[in-house]
């Protein structure tokens, strides 16, 4: 299993860009990097997934360097409603798609 390390918490202000970096040093060749968002009293919600280079959707961007040992979730112009816990996960491609969650990063967006 890839060992995942991400900051426990981060603070930001409305309108700023937030970058959350995750390290996954022993990621396997077929593994994907996935980010989930969780609000209080709700289940986690998929944000974005990538294998290498850059992926962008309407919510976020995901930057993955060539060695794939880390990844950075970028949230453009955050708002108060982006206050949540963000989980970096490695999808184990050969284990029935099981998701293994770490402790996540608690993002607090301030006005």
């Amino acid at each position: 299993l890839a060992k995942i390390t991400q900051p426990i918490s981060m603070d930001s202000y409305e309108g700023q860009e937030v970058n959350i970096t995750c390290s996954h040093n022993n990621i396997a060749t077929n593994d994907y990097i996935t980010w989930y968002q969780q609000f209080p009293s709700q289940g986690p919600r998929f944000i974005i997934q990538g294998y290498k280079t850059k992926v962008t959707n309407e919510v976020a961007s995901l930057f993955i360097p060539a060695d794939r040992k880390s990844s950075t979730l970028s949230l453009p112009r955050v708002s108060l409603s982006d206050t949540a816990v963000y989980y970096c996960l490695v999808v184990i491609n050969n284990a029935g798609n099981m998701l293994t969650f770490g402790g996540g990063t608690r993002l607090m967006v301030k006005p």
């Binding site: 077929n30 994907y32 996935t34 009293s41 709700q42 289940g43 986690p44 919600r45 998929f46 997934q49 989980y87 996960l89 999808v91 491609n93 284990a95 029935g96 798609n97 099981m98 998701l99 293994t100 969650f101 770490g102 402790g103 996540g104």
Partner: protein
């Protein structure tokens, strides 16, 4: 598309009592998961079903936890007897189980269990 339904939303029981949680996954999702999320921690997988068969239950405390998925659709998770440390949110998720495609996962809102 309807989401993953879970009930009850909240449950308070005394230790040593029994409790059951119910989950109805998204129609057509073959894979169903139960996760336990203790306050302040990330979700931990308890059991994974593929249709009505168990794929992984290595982290399920089988002396007190049981789960079934009859007919490959709805699932129930039971705790008997409950302990104080079982207080947590129990999340159900389902997916199409396409290799490497994690965006196929959908989580329910969970059942918050308090054992007193």
């Amino acid at each position: 598309e309807a989401g993953v339904a879970q009930s009850p939303r909240y449950k308070i029981i005394e230790k040593r009592q029994s409790v059951a949680f119910w989950c109805n996954p998204i129609s057509g999702h073959a894979t169903l998961y139960w996760y336990q999320q203790i306050l302040g921690q990330g979700p931990k997988l308890l059991i994974q079903f593929q249709n009505n068969g168990v794929v992984d239950d290595s982290q399920l405390p089988k002396d007190r936890f049981s789960a079934e998925r009859l007919k490959g659709v709805d699932s129930t998770l039971k705790i008997q007897p409950a302990k104080l440390e079982d207080s947590a949110v129990y999340l159900c998720a389902s997916s199409l189980a396409v290799q490497g495609q994690a965006y196929g996962y959908t989580f329910g809102s969970g059942t918050r269990l308090t054992v007193v």
